[in-house]
Symmetry: D2
Subunit: 117 residues, 4 copies
């Protein structure tokens, strides 16, 4: 209640069930679908400089495509989590806590920079 992600997860589940698509939604297939959508998201950034990528949402066309691709990624990620019985925020928080230990504040190796997890 108040958790928009859980509410949305239920919407995606209902969407799949009313179409009888559960049989296609194995974790294996959903992981592939997720990866396919992430590939489309990558394609939006592949020829941009880092600086251009930082301004992408200011371009109506490219920004709209990026938002749409991220939307696709979220739909499959939420569906995968639902099928697996995984809470997305819980598993992410656990990994962020791990990273906080592995990369204490002040640590800055030359070869791994910007790692969040």
């Amino acid at each position: 209640m108040g958790d928009r992600l859980v509410e949305f997860q239920e919407e995606v589940r209902a969407f799949a069930e009313v179409r009888d698509w559960q049989r296609f939604h194995t974790p294996k297939n959903l992981a592939m679908a997720l990866a396919g959508e992430v590939g489309e998201l990558l394609a939006e950034f592949q020829w941009l400089t880092p600086e251009e990528s930082g301004r992408v949402m200011g371009d109506p066309d490219a920004g709209g495509r990026v938002a749409a691709e991220i939307g696709d990624v979220v739909v499959y990620l939420v569906r995968l989590a639902d099928v697996l019985g995984v809470d997305l925020v819980d598993v992410a928080r656990a990994k962020l806590a791990d990273s906080a230990k592995r990369y204490p504040v002040g640590w800055q190796p030359a070869s791994i920079r910007g790692e969040v997890v």
Copy 2:
């Protein structure tokens, strides 16, 4: 408030800022990091049959690895959304609404099955 995903997004932002990692967190780089983590998630499923993939969370080792990889995916996805100023649930809901129009209940082509978006 009450939105766990937004709360978590703020935690990830603080994690990055206190380490001064914003300079690495361009949308381009974060999209790559997201894709790299999705690749690790795929690897957990690649040799499993569809049926085995459906039972993966019942195996403590494999299930733990899957949860951890999903956690990594969420961390980078949340960070990417934050940097872009995109609301993950909003963009996903927009795509699900599109799909509901494109794939009305009852529609079932042979060649595209299980598409959510």
Copy 3:
């Protein structure tokens, strides 16, 4: 001479140079483009059963799409190797030799099956 892959690599290089696209073809960008194309290839298989995937080339439409996506993957992989100065067969042969040591004939763990590298 007689090496079709090297000949093709030279064709891709000429294609890029005559269009003055070298400036876009950093290893980072080409790795992203490769990943984007692999994502499209995945999408061809995501809803297929393992058995259906084994018959995909017998379907003119799906088979043609799969061949085209693999073609895209090869183009970017060849271009990436060219820019990096890596010989694709040499690096692959080195990894296969590693795998032959790691997975001696007869070895068959329950949890890792079908690994080539």
Copy 4:
């Protein structure tokens, strides 16, 4: 004869057959394995600037890892092509020919740059 890629393809096939791994090597599974390895390749480049990525082979550690990841990608790509009965150079050459038509020399749109296919 003289075609190193075809010779290597036969080596990978023998590697899989002597281990009786054909049953794991469906096109669906091999496409996932390929994508997983491409994800690892991406990870090598994700925090590098475009310029740093251009110098990666000059760093013994990072360069070695990049070569190894590309090797993994080639192994699975070659195995996938073998299982599908696709000639990698033929399908790539067909796509390059398409691209030559779509992107005539001199054409330079603002929004798509560096596309090879």
